[in-house]
């Protein structure tokens, strides 16, 4: 499932995004990093067509995303937000079931198969026992997992996760990355995540994209592209990368 960005432009009143000619690899985890306001979230939302994009800008599996119907688009790519605003207190299973929306016509109800897909997704993230719990009762870590389960139920080949690990404690953070890796390996999903933590990014991703002020500054394999001078260019401050027992750490 290849993702190719031909020429993506998106303008806010005070900020514009411009990304040209970048392609992402299938069944790999790509981390998108950069300083605040670099446009990571905007880029991700554009990739998921959550923000309106013009025709000819983005191709997934050779198909122009902007030309597809919402349903078909959702079967290809899924944008997972960081947080969900719990206005209505759905149960976990009802929540995950919503991921099947792309496969259910507006006037129909979820089928037995849909319910099964949702249950499987829940099991994959390890929350089977939580099916009847209300969303508001979950911790933020558990809620992130539910969001991922819903994305899983959607069965789209591409998953776009917006800062999935921010605000999680170290244990949950690590577990989440393990899950993401599992998704890429077992389910062959193409996964893009935006991250703040450089160390986590370099450790858990296959490829990295560096963004600054709405543009892609660097892109490549994590091990190769991660170096001091790049970091300094992107973050406008001196940083030093230290290698210790095979793991990379960033000193500021």
């Amino acid at each position: 499932m290849s993702i190719r960005v031909a020429g993506l432009e998106f303008a806010y009143p005070k900020f514009s995004l411009r990304v040209e000619g970048i392609a992402f690899e299938t069944a790999k985890v790509t981390a998108i990093v950069g300083p605040n306001g670099a446009g990571k979230t905007t880029f991700l939302k554009c990739l998921g067509a959550v923000l309106p994009i013009p025709k000819g800008a983005l191709f997934i599996d050779g198909r122009d995303l902007a030309a597809l119907k919402s349903r078909e688009r959702a079967r290809l790519v899924c944008y997972v937000p960081q947080e969900h605003d719990t206005t209505f207190n759905y149960t976990v299973s009802d929540f995950v079931l919503m991921g099947r929306a792309a496969y259910i016509s507006p006037f129909a109800l979820p089928s037995h198969e849909d319910a099964e897909s949702a249950a499987e997704a829940l099991e994959f993230v390890g929350l089977s026992g939580f099916a009847d719990r209300a969303i508001s009762e979950l911790s933020s870590g558990e809620r992130r997992l539910v969001l991922i389960a819903r994305a899983l139920a959607q069965q789209s080949a591409v998953l776009l996760m917006d800062e999935p690990t921010t605000f999680l404690d170290p244990k949950h953070e690590t577990e989440l990355f393990r899950l993401i890796r599992k998704l890429a390996v077992e389910k062959k999903k193409t996964i893009l995540v935006t991250l703040h933590s450089l160390e986590m990014a370099v450790q858990h991703s296959d490829l990295m994209v560096f963004m600054k002020r709405g543009e892609v500054v660097a892109y490549g394999k994590s091990a190769e592209v991660f170096e001091d001078s790049l970091l300094e260019r992107v973050y406008d401050m001196q940083m030093k990368i230290i290698d210790w027992e095979g793991r990379k750490f960033v000193l500021r």
Binding site: S70, E72, D85, T87, G99, F107, P110, D132
Partner: protein, 338 residues
């Protein structure tokens, strides 16, 4: 856990059956005292007049032409306003939204009044009601713009539009001849007393159509109750489906308001109560809101008809009955949101 589940199920079944039971009870309530047996005979004589010659014509007329249309109207309006409230709440992701806040009720009332005053009773007021209800909600959406998910701006815009149409309604009253005004008297107060088959022939199908659409969309409402971004990401054509839901609720509200005037609170209270008791899944909320709304309306109307030969505006009544019930339940479940 299981005990609670089966209890909830039993409650749900009770709630769905209640309107049917109340329907028959309501038919036996009225100023003209008819025993249940007499009512039953009257019903039989309607079907085959020849077999029951002893049934007084008055009984037949009361059953068929006075009580039946009125109880049906109560049922329909109660279900309609409750379901429309529930749908709008899901759509605008806020449990405080209802058709009154969005200006739909006021627009419908203005349109219907305009039609009644200038086109007379011969022309169905539902048409003009729907037209101006659509204008009202369109204005609200247009004015609040992209911030339509932000409740405060939506609320403010709704209040402004409601106030505008209320003012227009007053203007219509001002220019109406005193005779037409007197005839509008009840309708403006919000009353089921004007229920006649002629009105129902137009409104009932419209309400039924709207209800069917919203019933079919009941699972979809779950998805639409997500943020616009999430809904889009889940593969929903948000704009198109939103318009569909709003069109259906506007149709229902206009059809109801054109006959009974403005009845507030129902679209707000009933879905709340239902969510408190049965959870937020709209597959349950929609049908149960319809059932509970219908029941509430029938009970309210029964009390009005049964207690005295006067007519108390039902809008006042639903508030008097609904609000305390709501407060009691709110305390009991101790839930802040739903």
């Amino acid at each position: 856990m299981n005990g609670q589940n089966s209890r909830t199920k039993a409650l749900a079944v009770f709630m769905l059956v209640l309107p049917l039971v109340l329907f028959f009870i309501s038919l036996s309530i009225g100023t003209y005292g008819i025993s249940p047996r007499g009512l039953f005979q009257a019903a039989l004589s309607v079907v085959s007049p020849a077999s029951h010659p002893e049934v007084p014509a008055a009984h037949r007329d009361i059953l068929l032409r006075i009580r039946l249309p009125r109880v049906l109207l109560a049922l329909a309006v109660g279900a309609a306003l409750s379901v429309s409230g529930a749908s709008l709440q899901a759509l605008f992701k806020n449990p405080l939204v209802n058709e009154y806040i969005l200006g739909i009720s006021s627009g419908a009332a203005f349109g219907a009044a305009l039609s009644l005053v200038f086109l007379g009773r011969a022309f169905p007021p539902q048409l003009a009601g729907f037209l101006f209800a659509a204008v009202a909600v369109g204005a609200v959406l247009l004015i609040s713009g992209k911030a339509e998910s932000h409740f405060i701006s939506l609320l403010l815009t709704g209040i402004i539009v409601t106030a505008f149409f209320s003012a227009l309604l007053s203007l219509v009253e001002f220019f109406a001849s005193p005779y037409v005004l007197q005839a509008l008297f009840f309708w403006l107060m919000g009353s089921l007393s004007l229920a006649s088959w002629k009105d129902l022939y137009v409104s009932l199908p419209l309400i039924a159509a709207g209800l069917v659409v919203l019933y079919l969309l009941r699972w979809r409402l779950n998805v639409l109750s997500m943020s616009d971004e999430e809904a889009r990401s889940l593969g929903v054509n948000v704009r198109r489906e939103k318009i569909l839901v709003i069109a259906a609720t506007t149709l229902i509200t206009a059809a109801a308001t054109a006959i009974v005037g403005i009845i507030g609170w129902l679209g707000f209270i009933v879905p709340h109560l239902v969510r408190m008791m049965f959870g937020a899944d709209n597959r349950r909320v929609v049908p149960l809101s319809a059932a509970m709304g219908a029941s509430l309306m029938m009970i309210a109307d029964d009390i009005i008809r049964g207690v005295s030969s006067f007519e108390i505006p039902i809008g006042i009544f639903t508030s008097l009955v609904g609000i305390p019930v709501f407060l009691i339940l709110l305390k009991k479940t101790r839930k802040v949101w739903l």
